[in-house]
Amino acid sequence: MIHAYQLVVVLPYAAALVLAAIPGYRLGAIANVVASLATLAAGIWLVTGGYLTGDYAIVDEFNIVFIVINTLVGFTTALFSASYIGHEIETGRLQPPFLRFYHAMFQAMMGSMNLALVANNIGLMWVGLELATLITVVMVGLYRTPQSIEAAWKYFILASVGISLAFFGTILIYLAGQPALGEGVPAMTWSLLQAAASRMDPQVLDLAFIFLLIGYGTKVGLAPLHAWLPDAHAEGPTPISAVLSGLLLNVALYALLRFKMLIAGQPAALDPGPIMVVMGLVSLIFAAFMLYQRRDIKRLFAYSSIEHMGLIVFAFGMGGPLANFAGLLHMAMHSLTKSGIFFAVGHIAQAKGTQRIAEIKGLSVTHPRLAVAFALAVLAICGMPPFGVFTSEFLILTTTFAREPWLALLPAFGLLVGFGALLMRLQDTIFGEPVGPAHRVDASSVPMVLHLMLVFAAGIFLPPALVAWFQRAAELLG
């Protein structure tokens, strides 16, 4: 009997093998979309398929949220990439053999992320995350320009150090679980570890959590461990920027939250909440100010991702059912909106032939429809109603205000600062005299519009079933 959780992992890996064998890039792009659609179907089947806790796999309310977002954005990104990447061949930035490699790697990356999400084993989860990281490193260096190699090198070094520290933390968790659960696989199994958390040595858990926080925190992009993030987003292909911001950061966050749940099971261990609140706030406010100095449009939105990951980590750090709910919702909204923005940025970069903000002006004159979509997407990420990001940000701020009125001022301040920066940049790009070339855009606008509509719909009306589901997941988080 095949279960859906096996499909979300096996399908992408199988597709990667097939795609590596398909020579033509057009056919490869189509196969990539089909494979991603099949994975999405498996992801949706997982929602209806019920929960399960096996030796190596776990499916509960909490990780299904991540898996569904992962497979959905994976599909829309494949769709976007299929129409986008042909242009890169025409402009000579990429050669067809590289695209074959690119498509195979895309599926392998999706498979690795899903593996990290369904794994009921802290070692297996680490393997999935490390694989996904390595693959994105290669993807970031795909264009082989000096800038992209520099970005990939920096990403490689920082991510490897982060992932190594996370591995050390994983060993420590095993050592903490060993006395209670015995040697071997059980002491690495999530569900068993969590049940036995109260019998673990609190000091070992403390030490382990510090390593895990620094290790996986690097991958989440928390300041001051964020240095790789803007470069990697700016220099890689745009579909990869969308996946990095929309998905990979989430998967790393998922790992961190699982360990937070584990530590919370041992009252004598340190409380991860305040640490996460501080790190989240530092990232949020730091990134908000950094937004003002950006000259590259993809870098701008990379910093905006740091800002939002900071806010999400802040929400989870506050803890409690309400803040966790808001954090989960914000994570989902940010994934959808930010990948949508990167799709729009891909269009803009194709239209103007540049990523430099100073050379992108007057979009409303040359590409009116694109300008409207981009403006709406940026307003959405700024947290303007009626988009879903507004709902989640409002929830985060109000729950914080209800509990710690003074503390709520800080995220509100950070969001306002970021809002100003993004609005200023938006004005520069949309209005004014058009400069430079204005090419026709070949890329499909379907994925971008789809994401915008989803975020819009979520802002207008959240289905009660969805709310109930997120609430259960939030309760699991404690």
Binding site: P146, I149, V161, S164, L175, E183, G184, M188, D201, L207
Partner: protein
């Protein structure tokens, strides 16, 4: 029983010594040799654990460490350095004396931290963990204080050696050791294939300083 502990501590201690040796080498060739010695010592330590704890699967780990990290990678890096004709001297950010002092402090920190915190776990695992953490931190230090791409990679792989030692010390930890060795090999191959050659191709140097000029925002 005690003898088994003594030998494993001896080997782990020897690895720590090679970590220090990595820091004070003046020539890249010597750095690579020191790394090879460290990897062979790691292979011995893992093999000893496999034999004394009766965990035959660890022999695979030891074998991989010996062949790939002890022989293949150092030889390949030697050839790369010769072929690329890069500077034979190690380019330093911080001098040898200062680096060694910091390394000493990190070792002390690791011992103090692990021995104090992990009092609940068995003594054997605890001391091995402390030594492994020192090696990890020393690899970290090496990545920070050395400028050249090749020496940074060696620093990273030495960090991996420390991690494998730690995983070996954690009794009965399943699969992960094998997987992590496979990963470090993958990473090393990947570094050769992708970076060292391309960096050379684009910049005529593997000096990381040259890369810093390519930051998008500084134009």
């Amino acid at each position: 029983m005690n003898q088994a502990y003594d030998v494993s501590h001896l080997l782990a201690g020897a690895m720590l010594v090679t970590s220090f040796a990595l820091l004070y080498q003046q020539r890249i060739g010597a750095v690579l040799n020191a790394f090879a010695v460290q990897s062979v010592t790691l292979a011995l330590a893992v093999a000893w654990a496999a034999w004394s704890d009766n965990r035959p699967d660890l022999f695979i780990t030891a074998f991989i460490a010996l062949v790939l990290k002890g022989i293949v990678i150092p030889v390949a890096l030697h050839r790369t350095v010769a072929r690329l004709g890069i500077h034979r001297e190690v380019e330093k950010v911080v001098g040898v004396g200062a680096a060694l002092l910091v390394g000493l402090a990190l070792t002390g920190l690791a011992q103090a931290l692990v021995v104090k915190v992990a009092s609940a776990t068995s003594g054997h695992a605890r001391e091995e963990l402390a030594l492994a953490l020192s090696i990890v931190l020393m690899g970290f230090l090496m990545m920070i204080v050395r400028r050249n791409a090749v020496t940074q990679v060696v620093g990273f792989m030495s960090m991996e050696n420390g991690l494998i030692l730690a995983a070996t010390g954690a009794r009965g930890m399943p699969l992960v050791v094998e997987v992590s060795v496979a990963f470090s090999v993958l990473i090393a191959l990947f570094v050769f294939a992708v970076f060292v050659f391309r960096i050379r191709e684009r910049f005529d140097t593997v000096d990381i300083e040259a890369l810093d000029r390519m930051r998008g925002d500084r134009r």
